[in-house]
């Protein structure tokens, strides 16, 4: 059964709801300016090497690649299951756990470790980029964040 979009809550992929503030490369909030476009997700602060968790109950469908010409960076796409049916989550800048693709993961379950963005963008606040789409339309994850303490597996 699919729940109402307004009542479906997501966990931060970092375990903390702290959103990236302003640095010389931009701001982490949804729809923040990025040159001619707008930021399509929310960036959550994380240290390189820290654990990354699944924001939803779902199936890890594939590895995602943020950059066409820089394959050092990776991400994951998770399709929702149960009350998350219809939602698709895309996360960037993490090293996925081995053999995570194809697995069903619980909300808050470990899925990888954070990468170091400073090797490409010196001075940037290290973060995990988190996008959600519902039936193809992008939504602001920060509007539907679960409390941190309720996200531990």
């Amino acid at each position: 059964m699919m729940s109402n979009i307004e009542s479906t809550l997501f966990c931060s992929p970092t375990g903390s709801n702290t959103v990236r503030g302003i640095d010389s490369f931009g701001q982490g909030r949804f729809a923040a300016p990025r040159g001619a476009r707008l930021h399509s997700g929310v960036d959550f602060n994380v240290k390189a090497g820290d654990d990354v968790y699944s924001p939803i109950f779902g199936k890890v469908v594939r590895v995602a690649i943020p950059y066409k010409s820089d394959e050092r960076f990776r991400g994951l796409v998770i399709e929702g299951i149960g009350r998350y049916v219809g939602y698709s989550v895309k996360l960037f800048y993490l090293d996925p756990l081995k053999e995570i693709v194809g697995r069903t993961v619980k909300q808050g379950e470990l899925i990888g470790t954070a990468q170091d963005l400073a090797i490409k963008y010196p001075g940037i606040t290290n973060h995990i980029h988190f996008e959600i789409s519902f039936k193809g339309a992008q939504i602001d994850p920060s509007r539907f964040l679960e409390k941190e303490e309720l996200c531990k597996v």
């Binding site: 690649i65 950059y67 010409s69 820089d70």
Partner: protein, 142 residues
Amino acid sequence: MQSLKIFLALIFIQISVACSKSNDSSLVQLHLQSKTECELVFKAENFSVIENFCSTEGKPILIRVDNQEIRSDWIDERTSRFLFQEGCASSDECFYELSTNEAGVRGRFSYRINMTEGEYSFEVGASGQPKVLSESSKDSAS
């Protein structure tokens, strides 16, 4: 004599303008319309570009202009495959702009896929031989 010179000059100018006019049709923008298991489909009225990622028989790109068809090799396979795997932020952000002439098709492809944006211009001859004329690509921080 002076008026004859002016008259001849005007005729010369008219002929020059007529000759310099390109046979190119006007530019048509084809947006990403659908994606199937094997294909990306870009469409506009009377125009379509279909990129096939599964079939190993024949050329992977089919360009339809009115009733004419050109089958082409990959123009920029890496970008096409990246788009096929990762998708576009929106269909407006991945599009072809095409014009046709007697020699084939000219155009450009513009894209934003995840944190990469870029474009390339190209021409495809009537025989289906593509040539990239210019290319630019930029990675942006999230």
